[in-house]
């Protein structure tokens, strides 16, 4: 996997990450420094509709195949219309759960772990969605 440097995080009221902080090469100033034009804000990348975006925390292992692990923070955008294959937050018997949405001849909520079985929804109208998951924030340490 290759990594492309995008720019520098900046001074804003939101959480920002200074991109060059860790890229220190001893004794030699980064030649890229002169070309930094704007600062980056993670919100810009993760949040398209601020008033419709909520964060939730995942708990459990049924979505590991989709890259969602217990303790991860999920970015949920309520404004999006759910499509076949989206990762969604659904309300099942009053409980909120993360699953992959299947909208074909049947409406099902699919786990991404062979140890779990799909949840069949009787009709598309009976499906109660909290929102569509757009990003997952996973911490490595």
């Amino acid at each position: 996997m290759s990594v492309v440097v995008l720019g520098q995080g900046g001074d804003s009221p939101f959480l920002t990450i200074p991109f060059f902080l860790s890229a220190v090469s001893a004794g030699f100033p980064s030649p890229a420094q002169d070309y930094v034009e704007k600062t980056l804000n993670l919100n810009e990348l993760l949040i398209q509709h601020p008033s419709a975006t909520y964060f939730v925390r995942a708990e459990g292992d049924s979505m590991q195949g989709a890259g969602i692990f217990s303790g991860d923070v999920l970015v949920v955008d309520r404004s999006l219309q759910a499509r076949n294959g989206d990762i969604v937050i659904a309300s099942i018997d009053g409980d909120l759960t993360v699953k992959k949405l299947e909208l074909s001849s049947v409406c099902r909520l699919l786990p991404c772990n062979p140890d779990y079985s799909p949840i069949v929804i009787s009709t598309e109208e009976a499906l109660e969605l909290f929102g569509v998951v757009t990003n997952v924030i996973h911490s490595f340490r």
Partner: protein, 421 residues
């Protein structure tokens, strides 16, 4: 044309958003200190629970498991409210925030190009889909009529939550059905006087002689009458007025008698008030502290007092305001009473970028103080009250009673809603 958008039982809807199992269940939200019912779900209304009743009167439902109860979670309601308002701002040319759960939209000119009834439904659907709370929409020629239309949208299920009063026939039907006491701006006292004059409905009021009524009652009532006829008199406030004072006061969870916990409380209130002041980019010159026992206690000696001081130079520095607040408290504190409530008020507020400095006294709004306060606010915002002054107290045994408080789902990383996977 104006629209009034009003959230249905707003506090309950905020709680339900993160607890979908409570949809269609009886839910109430209690006031500060878990005192009275301030919001009810329709199911709670069906149980016969009235607005503003003390919690202990309806406790039996809760004990039987028929009623779900929440303490007021203002961090949550404030966040959801700002989401509703910013969603509205994207939909309408101008928005006037009227309260935490209501906003007027200025739709002047829009009736030419839009079917306003359909537009009302679009607003309702958008807020429900994006933010997740239900709203009602009332549309009419004036703000007073928009209020009425909204009332109808909520009370008549047939309307599906949207009422457009631009057609005159609709308007006269609704005015005939509406009690004059439910008209915006008509108080209970005025309503009683109006009943005596055989004015019972909004239609009766609209047909009365506006000028004569204005002379006998008030100019306000005269304008209300014209508004009911569809003549706009209350303008759309394009800019909210600047705050004249900042207040922070609370009722203690239990009565306080000693000076040290009272000092902690007053320091806390001063710090909170200073934070609010800085949010509004203001500086205060006047600071007052009040203290009182329960005014309704039957068998107790009562006491209430306040003290105030005007500073030579205005400030928003927490340290200065805190120490002055404590000095003021010491002036009015008397031992031997059971205190119920205290508060700090900041007044004579001036914008931070233009104020008069008294030459013979130190400028309290020094660059050093500004920098320190800025840093403090940033840390507290990021780490959820990470820095406190020693005098604010660590235990805060006097603080509010909130036994049924829900997590701060949207404002604290520790409190995020957990979803099963």
């Amino acid at each position: 044309m104006y629209a009034l958008v009003d959230c249905n039982c707003f506090y309950v809807s905020c709680e339900r958003l993160f607890r979908p199992e409570l949809n269609h269940k009886a839910v109430v939200v209690l006031s500060n200190n878990d005192g009275c019912v301030v919001a009810r779900s329709p199911e709670a209304k069906e149980l016969g629970i009235k607005m503003a009743v003390p919690f202990f009167e309806v406790r039996e439902f809760y004990d039987r498991g028929e009623l779900h109860v929440f303490s007021s979670n203002y961090a949550l309601y404030g966040d959801i409210s700002s989401r509703v308002m910013s969603t509205l701002e994207a939909l309408a040319p101008a928005v006037e925030i009227y309260s935490i759960d209501e906003a007027f939209l200025d739709l002047r000119g829009m009736q030419l190009n839009y079917d306003l009834n359909r537009y009302g439904h679009q607003i309702k659907q958008r807020i429900h889909k994006w933010v997740g709370v239900p709203v009602g929409v009332g549309i009419a020629q004036t703000k007073t009529l928009a209020k009425l239309a909204n009332y109808a949208a909520k009370h008549y299920p047939k309307t599906l939550g949207v009422v457009d009063l631009s057609a005159a026939s609709w308007r006269s039907r609704l005015l005939k059905k509406t009690n004059v006491a439910d008209v915006w701006g008509v108080g209970r006292r005025t309503a009683a006087k109006l009943y005596a004059e055989q004015i019972f409905t909004a239609a009766d009021l609209a047909e009365s002689d506006a000028e004569a009524m204005g002379k006998r009652y008030s100019v306000m009532l005269q304008r209300t009458i014209l508004e009911l006829r569809g003549i706009p008199c209350f303008n759309f406030a394009e800019q909210p007025t600047e705050k004249q004072q900042v207040l922070c006061s609370r009722t203690f969870s239990s009565r306080l008698t000693e000076l040290p916990p009272l000092k902690e409380a007053v320091r806390e209130y001063a710090v909170r008030a200073a934070e609010k002041l800085r949010e509004e980019k203001g500086l205060a010159r006047y600071i007052s502290v009040f203290l009182r026992t329960n005014p309704n206690a039957r068998f107790e000696v009562k006491y209430a007092n306040s003290a105030a001081v005007t500073l030579p130079n205005p400030t928003c520095d927490s340290r200065v305001l805190m120490s002055i607040a404590v000095q003021l408290l010491e002036q009015i504190y008397l031992p031997g009473y059971r205190y119920m409530k205290a508060g700090v008020m900041l007044g004579d507020i001036q914008p931070h970028n233009s104020y008069q400095v008294d030459l013979f006294n130190p400028d309290l709004h020094s660059p050093k103080s500004q920098q320190l306060m800025k840093t403090l606010d940033e840390i507290n915002q990021r780490y959820h009250r990470g820095v406190t002054f020693v005098g604010q107290g660590f235990e805060q045994n006097w603080s509010m009673q909130r036994q049924h408080l829900s997590p701060s789902y949207t404002t604290s990383w520790q409190d995020l809603r957990r979803v099963r996977c």
